[in-house]
Protein backbone atom coordinates (compact mmCIF):
# COMPACT_ATOMS: atom_id res chain seq x y z
CA UNK A 1 0.00 0.00 0.00
CA UNK A 2 1.26 3.46 -0.88
CA UNK A 3 2.38 5.49 2.12
CA UNK A 4 1.79 9.09 3.11
CA UNK A 5 5.26 10.05 1.87
CA UNK A 6 4.47 8.76 -1.63
CA UNK A 7 1.42 11.01 -1.80
CA UNK A 8 3.40 13.99 -0.48
CA UNK A 9 6.11 13.50 -3.12
CA UNK A 10 3.49 13.23 -5.88
CA UNK A 11 1.80 16.37 -4.59
CA UNK A 12 5.13 18.25 -4.54
CA UNK A 13 5.82 17.22 -8.14
CA UNK A 14 2.37 18.33 -9.29
CA UNK A 15 2.67 21.64 -7.46
CA UNK A 16 6.04 22.29 -9.09
CA UNK A 17 4.59 21.53 -12.53
CA UNK A 18 1.85 24.07 -11.86
CA UNK A 19 4.31 26.70 -10.66
CA UNK A 20 6.56 26.11 -13.67
CA UNK A 21 3.52 26.53 -15.93
CA UNK A 22 2.75 29.91 -14.38
CA UNK A 23 6.37 30.97 -14.88
CA UNK A 24 6.79 29.66 -18.41
CA UNK A 25 3.57 30.00 -20.35
CA UNK A 26 2.67 33.17 -22.23
CA UNK A 27 -1.07 32.58 -22.45
CA UNK A 28 -3.48 33.77 -19.77
CA UNK A 29 -5.77 30.72 -20.08
CA UNK A 30 -2.90 28.25 -19.72
CA UNK A 31 -1.67 30.20 -16.71
CA UNK A 32 -5.09 29.80 -15.07
CA UNK A 33 -4.96 26.06 -15.86
CA UNK A 34 -1.55 25.86 -14.16
CA UNK A 35 -3.08 27.50 -11.07
CA UNK A 36 -5.72 24.75 -11.10
CA UNK A 37 -2.95 22.12 -11.16
CA UNK A 38 -1.42 23.73 -8.06
CA UNK A 39 -4.78 23.78 -6.27
CA UNK A 40 -5.23 20.09 -7.03
CA UNK A 41 -1.78 19.26 -5.69
CA UNK A 42 -2.74 20.94 -2.42
CA UNK A 43 -6.07 19.07 -2.37
CA UNK A 44 -4.19 15.78 -2.66
CA UNK A 45 -2.07 16.73 0.34
CA UNK A 46 -5.18 17.55 2.38
CA UNK A 47 -6.85 14.23 1.59
CA UNK A 48 -3.65 12.24 2.23
CA UNK A 49 -3.12 13.89 5.62
CA UNK A 50 -6.76 13.45 6.51
CA UNK A 51 -6.46 9.74 5.69
CA UNK A 52 -3.27 9.44 7.73
CA UNK A 53 -4.82 11.04 10.81
CA UNK A 54 -8.08 9.13 10.32
CA UNK A 55 -10.05 12.37 10.26
CA UNK A 56 -12.65 13.65 7.83
CA UNK A 57 -11.56 17.31 8.08
CA UNK A 58 -9.16 17.05 5.15
CA UNK A 59 -11.97 16.05 2.80
CA UNK A 60 -14.13 18.94 3.99
CA UNK A 61 -11.32 21.45 3.43
CA UNK A 62 -10.98 20.04 -0.10
CA UNK A 63 -14.68 20.72 -0.59
CA UNK A 64 -14.08 24.38 0.33
CA UNK A 65 -10.97 24.60 -1.85
CA UNK A 66 -13.03 23.38 -4.81
CA UNK A 67 -15.61 26.09 -4.15
CA UNK A 68 -12.94 28.76 -4.04
CA UNK A 69 -11.40 27.31 -7.22
CA UNK A 70 -14.76 27.57 -8.98
CA UNK A 71 -15.15 31.19 -7.91
CA UNK A 72 -11.56 31.94 -8.93
CA UNK A 73 -12.05 30.35 -12.36
CA UNK A 74 -15.28 32.28 -12.98
CA UNK A 75 -13.86 35.68 -12.02
CA UNK A 76 -10.46 34.98 -13.60
CA UNK A 77 -11.99 33.97 -16.92
CA UNK A 78 -14.26 37.03 -16.87
CA UNK A 79 -11.16 39.19 -16.42
CA UNK A 80 -9.45 37.31 -19.29
CA UNK A 81 -12.44 38.02 -21.55
CA UNK A 82 -12.41 41.71 -20.61
CA UNK A 83 -8.66 41.94 -21.24
CA UNK A 84 -8.96 40.13 -24.58
CA UNK A 85 -11.63 42.61 -25.70
CA UNK A 86 -9.38 45.45 -24.64
CA UNK A 87 -6.15 44.36 -26.38
CA UNK A 88 -7.07 41.49 -28.69
CA UNK A 89 -4.34 39.34 -27.19
CA UNK A 90 -3.96 36.72 -24.48
CA UNK A 91 -0.25 37.33 -24.01
CA UNK A 92 0.37 38.79 -20.54
CA UNK A 93 3.35 40.73 -21.94
CA UNK A 94 0.94 42.75 -24.11
CA UNK A 95 -0.50 44.40 -21.00
CA UNK A 96 2.21 46.81 -20.05
CA UNK A 97 0.53 50.17 -19.72
CA UNK A 98 1.37 50.31 -16.03
CA UNK A 99 4.87 48.92 -16.56
CA UNK A 100 7.93 51.17 -16.57
Amino acid sequence: MATLNDYLVLSAVLFTIGAAGVFLRRNLITILLAVEIMLNAVNLTFVAFGRYHGSVDGQIIVFFVMTVAAAEAAVGLAIVIAMFRHRGSLNPDAFRTLKW
Binding site: M1, L4, Y7, V9, L10, Y52, V62, L77, F84
Partner: protein, 180 residues
Protein backbone atom coordinates in the same frame (compact mmCIF):
# COMPACT_ATOMS: atom_id res chain seq x y z
CA UNK B 1 3.80 -5.39 -4.74
CA UNK B 2 0.15 -5.13 -3.90
CA UNK B 3 -2.61 -4.05 -6.25
CA UNK B 4 -3.07 -0.74 -4.44
CA UNK B 5 0.54 0.21 -4.96
CA UNK B 6 0.40 -0.59 -8.68
CA UNK B 7 -2.76 1.51 -9.01
CA UNK B 8 -1.08 4.34 -7.14
CA UNK B 9 1.85 4.36 -9.54
CA UNK B 10 -0.41 4.16 -12.60
CA UNK B 11 -2.59 7.07 -11.45
CA UNK B 12 0.45 9.08 -10.34
CA UNK B 13 2.16 8.56 -13.71
CA UNK B 14 -1.00 9.62 -15.58
CA UNK B 15 -1.45 12.69 -13.39
CA UNK B 16 2.16 13.84 -13.73
CA UNK B 17 2.36 13.04 -17.45
CA UNK B 18 -0.84 14.85 -18.39
CA UNK B 19 0.04 17.83 -16.18
CA UNK B 20 3.40 18.12 -17.93
CA UNK B 21 1.64 18.02 -21.29
CA UNK B 22 -0.82 20.69 -20.12
CA UNK B 23 1.96 23.20 -19.61
CA UNK B 24 3.80 21.95 -22.72
CA UNK B 25 0.96 22.70 -25.13
CA UNK B 26 0.65 25.85 -27.20
CA UNK B 27 -3.00 25.19 -27.99
CA UNK B 28 -5.21 25.86 -24.94
CA UNK B 29 -7.94 23.45 -26.14
CA UNK B 30 -5.53 20.51 -25.80
CA UNK B 31 -4.37 21.87 -22.45
CA UNK B 32 -7.93 21.90 -21.09
CA UNK B 33 -8.69 18.38 -22.35
CA UNK B 34 -5.44 17.00 -20.93
CA UNK B 35 -6.16 18.65 -17.60
CA UNK B 36 -9.48 16.77 -17.48
CA UNK B 37 -7.50 13.50 -17.84
CA UNK B 38 -5.22 14.64 -15.03
CA UNK B 39 -8.24 15.31 -12.79
CA UNK B 40 -9.58 11.85 -13.59
CA UNK B 41 -6.32 10.30 -12.40
CA UNK B 42 -6.48 12.40 -9.22
CA UNK B 43 -10.03 11.14 -8.62
CA UNK B 44 -8.62 7.60 -8.78
CA UNK B 45 -6.04 8.54 -6.16
CA UNK B 46 -8.81 9.88 -3.91
CA UNK B 47 -10.58 6.54 -4.17
CA UNK B 48 -7.34 4.84 -3.09
CA UNK B 49 -7.26 7.25 -0.12
CA UNK B 50 -10.75 6.10 1.00
CA UNK B 51 -12.33 9.40 -0.04
CA UNK B 52 -14.99 8.45 -2.60
CA UNK B 53 -17.00 11.62 -1.87
CA UNK B 54 -14.05 13.81 -2.87
CA UNK B 55 -13.41 11.63 -5.92
CA UNK B 56 -16.99 12.07 -7.18
CA UNK B 57 -16.93 15.80 -6.40
CA UNK B 58 -13.65 16.06 -8.29
CA UNK B 59 -15.20 14.53 -11.39
CA UNK B 60 -18.49 16.43 -11.23
CA UNK B 61 -17.30 19.86 -10.10
CA UNK B 62 -13.76 20.04 -11.46
CA UNK B 63 -13.74 17.92 -14.59
CA UNK B 64 -17.38 18.73 -15.25
CA UNK B 65 -18.22 22.29 -14.34
CA UNK B 66 -14.95 24.21 -14.09
CA UNK B 67 -13.30 22.69 -17.16
CA UNK B 68 -16.43 23.25 -19.25
CA UNK B 69 -16.21 26.91 -18.21
CA UNK B 70 -12.62 26.98 -19.46
CA UNK B 71 -13.60 25.28 -22.73
CA UNK B 72 -16.37 27.81 -23.26
CA UNK B 73 -13.97 30.71 -22.83
CA UNK B 74 -11.34 29.17 -25.13
CA UNK B 75 -13.93 28.70 -27.85
CA UNK B 76 -15.58 32.07 -27.20
CA UNK B 77 -12.32 33.97 -27.59
CA UNK B 78 -11.40 31.92 -30.66
CA UNK B 79 -7.70 32.50 -30.00
CA UNK B 80 -6.46 28.95 -30.28
CA UNK B 81 -2.69 29.37 -30.39
CA UNK B 82 -0.21 31.07 -28.21
CA UNK B 83 1.07 33.89 -30.39
CA UNK B 84 4.70 33.93 -31.47
CA UNK B 85 6.56 36.85 -29.98
CA UNK B 86 6.25 39.95 -32.16
CA UNK B 87 9.74 41.51 -32.23
CA UNK B 88 8.41 45.00 -32.99
CA UNK B 89 6.14 45.20 -30.02
CA UNK B 90 7.75 43.03 -27.41
CA UNK B 91 11.18 42.09 -26.28
CA UNK B 92 11.41 38.33 -25.85
CA UNK B 93 11.51 37.86 -22.09
CA UNK B 94 14.18 35.17 -22.36
CA UNK B 95 15.81 36.10 -19.05
CA UNK B 96 12.50 35.87 -17.20
CA UNK B 97 11.88 32.45 -18.74
CA UNK B 98 15.25 31.07 -17.63
CA UNK B 99 14.68 32.54 -14.20
CA UNK B 100 11.32 30.73 -14.11
CA UNK B 101 12.94 27.37 -14.87
CA UNK B 102 15.53 27.94 -12.14
CA UNK B 103 12.79 28.87 -9.65
CA UNK B 104 10.74 25.78 -10.52
CA UNK B 105 13.73 23.44 -10.09
CA UNK B 106 14.57 25.17 -6.81
CA UNK B 107 10.98 24.76 -5.60
CA UNK B 108 11.00 21.04 -6.43
CA UNK B 109 14.32 20.54 -4.63
CA UNK B 110 13.03 22.39 -1.60
CA UNK B 111 9.76 20.41 -1.45
CA UNK B 112 11.63 17.15 -1.98
CA UNK B 113 14.00 17.98 0.83
CA UNK B 114 11.10 18.91 3.12
CA UNK B 115 9.30 15.63 2.40
CA UNK B 116 12.47 13.53 2.71
CA UNK B 117 13.63 15.04 5.98
CA UNK B 118 10.57 16.48 7.67
CA UNK B 119 7.89 13.98 6.79
CA UNK B 120 10.00 10.93 7.62
CA UNK B 121 10.94 12.42 10.98
CA UNK B 122 7.34 13.38 11.81
CA UNK B 123 5.33 10.50 10.38
CA UNK B 124 7.78 7.60 10.24
CA UNK B 125 6.93 5.16 7.48
CA UNK B 126 3.65 7.01 6.93
CA UNK B 127 1.59 3.90 6.31
CA UNK B 128 -2.16 4.31 6.63
CA UNK B 129 -4.28 2.80 9.37
CA UNK B 130 -6.64 0.39 7.61
CA UNK B 131 -9.27 0.44 10.35
CA UNK B 132 -10.04 4.16 10.08
CA UNK B 133 -10.66 3.98 6.33
CA UNK B 134 -14.20 2.67 6.77
CA UNK B 135 -15.30 5.56 8.96
CA UNK B 136 -13.86 8.47 6.99
CA UNK B 137 -15.14 7.20 3.66
CA UNK B 138 -18.73 7.47 4.85
CA UNK B 139 -20.63 10.30 3.14
CA UNK B 140 -23.06 10.33 6.04
CA UNK B 141 -20.25 11.12 8.48
CA UNK B 142 -18.83 13.83 6.17
CA UNK B 143 -22.27 15.44 5.98
CA UNK B 144 -22.66 15.41 9.76
CA UNK B 145 -19.32 17.16 10.27
CA UNK B 146 -19.89 19.58 7.38
CA UNK B 147 -23.26 20.78 8.66
CA UNK B 148 -22.25 21.01 12.33
CA UNK B 149 -18.58 21.93 12.87
CA UNK B 150 -18.21 23.65 9.50
CA UNK B 151 -21.71 25.13 9.20
CA UNK B 152 -20.49 28.73 9.36
CA UNK B 153 -17.80 28.21 6.71
CA UNK B 154 -20.38 26.45 4.55
CA UNK B 155 -22.73 29.46 4.71
CA UNK B 156 -19.90 31.90 3.99
CA UNK B 157 -19.08 29.80 0.92
CA UNK B 158 -22.53 30.53 -0.49
CA UNK B 159 -21.85 34.28 -0.16
CA UNK B 160 -18.52 33.76 -1.93
CA UNK B 161 -20.25 32.04 -4.83
CA UNK B 162 -22.82 34.85 -5.02
CA UNK B 163 -20.11 37.53 -5.10
CA UNK B 164 -18.12 35.59 -7.72
CA UNK B 165 -21.23 35.24 -9.89
CA UNK B 166 -22.05 38.95 -9.75
CA UNK B 167 -18.40 39.83 -10.36
CA UNK B 168 -18.09 37.52 -13.36
CA UNK B 169 -21.24 38.92 -14.97
CA UNK B 170 -20.14 42.49 -14.35
CA UNK B 171 -16.60 41.97 -15.65
CA UNK B 172 -17.50 40.06 -18.80
CA UNK B 173 -20.35 42.41 -19.78
CA UNK B 174 -20.00 44.52 -22.91
CA UNK B 175 -19.57 48.18 -22.06
CA UNK B 176 -21.06 49.90 -25.09
CA UNK B 177 -24.49 51.32 -24.36
CA UNK B 178 -26.42 49.71 -27.21
CA UNK B 179 -25.76 46.19 -25.98
CA UNK B 180 -26.65 46.79 -22.33
Amino acid sequence: MSGDLILFYVFAAVAVGTSLLVIGQRNPIYSVLLLIASFGALAGLYVLLDAPFVAVTQIIVYAGAIMVLFLFVVMLLNAPREEPIDPERLVEPQGARRFGVVLAVFLLAELGWAVARGARALFGSGSFDRARGEQISSVRYIGQVLYSDYAFAFEVTSILILVAMVGAVLLARRHDEKQV
